[in-house]
């Protein structure tokens, strides 16, 4: 086998003790920065009776208060901005909608760091300056497109900034320009594989060798399907807008957990109920501290993703800890077609449209694309004696949900008291996608 290549070998293969030492030094500096420039977090620290002097290294991390998405939302748009706006060069934003949106700010240094992380992922997937990298994540506020685009530039790949959608054009450019690396959501990769097959192309007809897929949960089974249909090796990538975007962690050729870029991000696993840190190897909620970010430096940010950290040495030579694929959420957030969806958002729309909040969300996957069906109990206010009246009410409600979430649901109006209830409590979400094998 060809010897492993790294984008930044010194960092990626740094001895574990050195990583820890580096993290400690960066943490002390970062806590000071946040204390001085982020009043809402300083207030939290004061309430917890912690000052920067109490934080002398990673062993003191547990003394710091947690941050949640609600904290960021409450301080929308720039309460957590830690540098003058003039020092920022970019924002990105979460896919969440009204009331849930988080705006992340970046200095040029922050962008560089983020793009380096994505470049590490591309190199780990075998990328070099000889490669043609097709970036089919959405571009814009969503971090997927901009992140991998930047990483691809850094590696020196010829970058195809396709953005999402327009499958015909995706396939044409993939084949005509000889794309060798594909970056997109796993469901879109699967969809492209199907579309190629329908057009009569065999896996060997494309030049792809690797894919970097993230932004939504996917299974090992899906990985095998994508690898077979596109004739590639499929790599997972993880990230969240709050910490930078994709590239917080990435898979190497071992495909056995994602290496967290520990020189920039300090990871912990906590008990989601008590907030107590858990030992490595135990399943719990992933918490991140950004060690280098200047504009939007979050300390102990609760991701709500449930996973496990693995510190056993990886044969690839990277010394960074590996995280498992997220196995679930410690809140009720769903990721549908790469979009974060909270059931409460659908409830808000129902109330606005004059429906009682008796509903059930059914998420499934058909032809490798997520489907969203919303069952809503009809009330007399919306009922008319004609079929077209009921159908029009369904369409109107679907339109209002689309406006809120950005994804198209199928609305089914159903008879009262037909939504399944367990122990008197309605079952709000039925997720039929088998995301974890």
């Amino acid at each position: 086998m060809e010897s492993e290549r790294y984008y930044q070998p010194q960092a990626e293969t740094m001895p574990v003790e050195q990583i820890r030492q580096m993290q400690s030094e960066k943490l002390v500096r970062q806590v000071r920065h946040v204390w001085e420039h982020v009043p809402p977090y300083r207030t939290k620290m004061e309430a917890a009776g912690v000052t920067p002097e109490d934080i002398r290294g990673v062993e003191d991390l547990h003394k710091l208060p947690f941050l949640t998405k609600a904290d960021l939302r409450d301080n929308y748009p720039d309460g957590f901005l830690a540098v003058p706006k003039a020092d920022c060069v970019r924002i990105q934003s979460t896919s969440g909608t009204t009331g849930r949106r988080v705006v992340a700010f970046y200095t040029q240094e922050d962008v560089n760091l983020w793009e380096d992380c994505c470049a590490r992922a591309i190199v780990a997937a075998g990328g070099t300056r000889e490669d043609v990298c097709q970036v089919s994540y959405g571009y814009g506020l969503f971090t997927g497109g901009p992140g991998l685009n930047g990483g691809s530039h850094r590696v020196g790949c010829l970058t195809l900034p396709m953005s999402s959608g327009n499958t015909e054009r995706q396939i044409q450019f993939m084949l005509d320009l000889g794309a060798t690396i594909l970056c997109c959501t796993p469901s879109y990769a699967a969809y492209l594989g199907e579309a190629l097959k329908e057009k009569g192309y065999k896996p060997e007809d494309n030049k792809l060798k690797a894919g970097i897929f993230g932004a939504e949960p996917w299974t090992e089974e899906m990985r095998r399907d994508i690898e077979k249909s596109l004739g590639i090796k499929a790599y997972d990538i993880y990230g969240l807008t709050e910490t930078s975007g994709p590239g917080v962690s990435f898979e190497c050729r071992e495909q056995h957990g994602m290496h967290i870029n520990e020189d920039h991000f300090l990871a912990e696993i906590i008990d989601p109920d008590t907030g107590e840190p858990l030992p490595d190897g135990e399943k719990g909620e992933l918490v991140f501290t950004s060690l280098d970010k200047q504009a939007f430096p979050l300390l102990r940010y609760r991701t709500r993703d449930i996973c496990v950290l693995d510190r056993t040495p990886c044969p690839c030579g990277r010394t960074f800890v590996r995280m498992s694929k997220p196995m679930g959420r410690s809140d009720d957030m769903l990721i549908i077609r790469g979009v974060n969806v909270f059931p409460s958002q659908i409830e808000t729309v129902l109330l606005q449209e004059g429906y009682a909040p008796n509903y059930q969300i059914e998420v499934d996957r058909a032809n490798n694309t997520d489907t969203l069906d919303v069952y809503v109990e009809l009330s007399e206010e919306q009922f008319t004696d004609t079929v077209k009246g009921v159908t029009a009410a369904e369409k109107k409600l679907a339109g209002a949900i689309k406006t809120m979430l950005g994804i198209n649901p199928v609305v089914h109006l159903v008879a009262p008291k037909t939504i399944a209830r367990s122990e008197g409590k309605a079952v709000r979400v039925v997720d039929k996608r088998k995301l974890i094998d």
Binding site: L378, E380, F383, T384, D385, T386, V387, A415, K417, T418
Partner: protein
């Protein structure tokens, strides 16, 4: 006074109609006319009954979603062209018809047609002007049949 029609929302599944008509039977309601419009997912049961208020109360009590509308009903000769004439009159008067359904009366040789139109008053006048009598209801919107 126009005739009152009850529309009941039913899910398109086995036993849905049975459930609704059982409720009516239990309340001692006598159905005079009925029709069902159905789609893949749901159906709308349309009813004209003698005991209108009792039927509404019993169905709502049982948890059904109802819509109550005024409809126009006419008695037509049970012969070819009977309905065509009625429809021609309404079309000529510019009245829109959403749907209609027919039922037979106990009186010999007559068929009744329920017409769901956008303007019951206008429909009644247009029909009367053309010599077609509409069925009128009593105080509570019952059919006089």
């Amino acid at each position: 006074m126009a005739i009152k029609q009850i529309s009941v929302f039913l899910e398109n599944r086995a036993g849905a109609l049975e459930g609704a008509v059982r409720v009516l039977a239990g309340a001692g309601v006598d159905m005079r006319a009925m029709a069902i419009a159905d789609t893949q997912e749901f159906g709308i049961l349309r009813l004209i009954v003698r005991e209108h208020e009792a039927a509404c109360a019993a169905l709502r009590e049982a948890g059904y979603i109802l819509a109550v509308n005024d409809v126009t009903a006419v008695e037509i000769p049970d012969e070819p062209g009977g309905l065509a004439r009625v429809v021609e009159i309404l079309t000529a008067a510019g009245i829109n018809m959403e749907y209609s359904y027919a039922f037979l009366t106990q009186s010999h040789g007559r068929a009744c047609v329920v017409l769901r139109v956008d303007d019951n008053g206008k429909a009644t006048s247009a029909l009367a002007a053309a010599g077609v009598e509409t069925l009128t209801s009593g105080e509570s919107g019952q059919l006089p049949l």
